[in-house]
């Protein structure tokens, strides 16, 4: 998965225009971030990339870029 694809997924799951999705966004501050939307995002990454992110993984992340790097590293 490249970063452009990651931005599209973030855009669709958190109702943000793609152009506004930046790596330096603190994802917990996104308006649409909630336990349900986080779960939907995790499920989609699992389905599309075969990568399972855990709550411990997310706890170590601050920015969207951190999540992207984590997905790529897995």
């Amino acid at each position: 998965m490249n970063f452009d694809r990651f931005k599209v997924i973030i855009s669709e799951e958190f109702n943000l225009p793609v152009k506004d999705v930046k790596g330096e966004i603190e994802f917990r501050n996104m308006e649409a971030w909630s336990s349900l939307h986080a779960l939907l995002f995790i499920a989609r990454i699992n389905e599309e990339e075969g990568v399972m992110l855990t709550s411990s993984d997310l706890a170590l992340c601050t920015y969207l870029e951190d999540i992207y790097k984590l997905i790529v590293s897995k």
Partner: protein, 336 residues
């Protein structure tokens, strides 16, 4: 690897009970209108049953259900050998609920009674336990009653946006008999991933209340990563074809989890039953209650079904069972 078989054990009847009182997620004040719609769409849960009376506990529902089961099966109390209760919401720790029911309903002293502390996987664990106990009794046509369920709403913080929209109260009472037929009646695969124990837990608050807390991401991860594998090992062990199953009945966690498991396990989605929309997550009653909602459609054809419970523990239990009971009652509303 806890794989096992049961021989000659048959479910004869199932009673399902729910509180008459219900809540609608479409009008849940904790969430915005947009959040409510998203929640219902992705969890599949619209309505939840809520026991309205704190003085009434799971035992009261079990007592009513046991009485109804005995009447409907025309079983005399003296013919019952085993009474097992699966619950995590007993109002008192001592004595066990099964012993309380034994006393309340005046069963005879020869009945074996104990409780199993289990939630989402509890029906399958209870069925496995009862099957092994029945097979070991020195009595032909031995009979058991298995009570499953929780008043989960007694553990819910009404301000918790993750837990409150999901959990619902229900019990199922199951009559099980050793038919003394020597053919295989079930295959079981029971597993535990205790590293995931904190995914669903109760926490004691400073106020003295104990509330259930849920880590949705970890529950999803454990369920989707391990349940399909658990099912595949069960199918391999049974040497049966998955196509021989007339229905697949999962613990009713939520739609997102159950759909993901269905897809990963390669199961035919038209055979997967659900009661989520009407009844939510009904803990250890969820599998028999879900069968009860679909029994009229299954009645003519069902002979083998695959069931799988997973959750609190983290515990996973699946089984393929021969299934031809006399009845499975639709969920009946109860008001005390």
């Amino acid at each position: 690897m806890a794989l096992s078989k049961s021989i000659g054990i048959q479910i004869k009847g199932i009673i399902n009970l729910v509180p008459k009182n219900s809540e609608d997620n479409q009008s849940l004040e904790l969430l915005s209108e947009e959040e409510r719609s998203a929640l219902i769409k992705h969890t599949g849960i619209r309505y939840r049953r809520v026991n309205p009376n704190d003085s009434i506990g799971v035992k009261n529902y079990f007592n009513v259900g046991v009485d109804k089961l005995l009447n409907r099966l025309k079983w005399e109390k003296e013919t019952i050998d085993i009474l097992i209760c699966v619950t995590q919401t007993a109002k008192v720790a001592i004595p066990s609920i099964s012993c309380q029911i034994h006393g309340d309903l005046d069963f005879e002293s020869h009945v074996l009674c104990y409780d199993i502390n289990s939630g989402c996987s509890g029906f399958v664990y209870g069925l496995h336990t009862v099957s092994q106990l029945l097979a070991g009794l020195d009595k032909p046509k031995a009979r058991a009653i298995l009570c499953c369920g929780d008043i989960s709403t007694s553990l819910i913080d009404s301000s918790d946006r993750s837990v409150r929209p999901i959990f619902s109260d229900a019990v199922s009472i199951v009559g099980i008999e050793n038919t003394n037929d020597d053919s295989i009646s079930g295959y079981f695969h029971l597993e535990t991933m205790g590293k995931g124990q904190s995914a669903i837990r109760t926490e004691l608050e400073e106020s003295g209340n104990s509330f259930m807390r849920l880590n949705g991401i970890d529950v999803f991860n454990y369920s989707v990563s391990h349940v399909p594998t658990n099912i595949q090992k069960l199918v391999d062990f049974s040497k049966k074809s998955i196509d021989e199953m007339d229905a697949f009945v999962f613990h009713q966690a939520n739609k997102l989890i159950n759909d993901s498991i269905t897809k990963k396990a390669g199961l035919e989605s038209s055979k997967v039953l659900s009661s989520l929309y009407e009844y939510g997550n009904t803990a250890s009653a969820s599998i028999p209650l879900t069968i009860g909602t679909a029994w009229k459609d299954l009645n003519e054809k069902s002979r083998w079904i695959l069931i799988s419970g997973f959750g609190v523990g983290f515990s996973i239990a699946s089984a393929m069972i021969s299934f031809a009971p006399e009845f499975v009652a639709s969920p009946e509303e109860i008001e005390f």
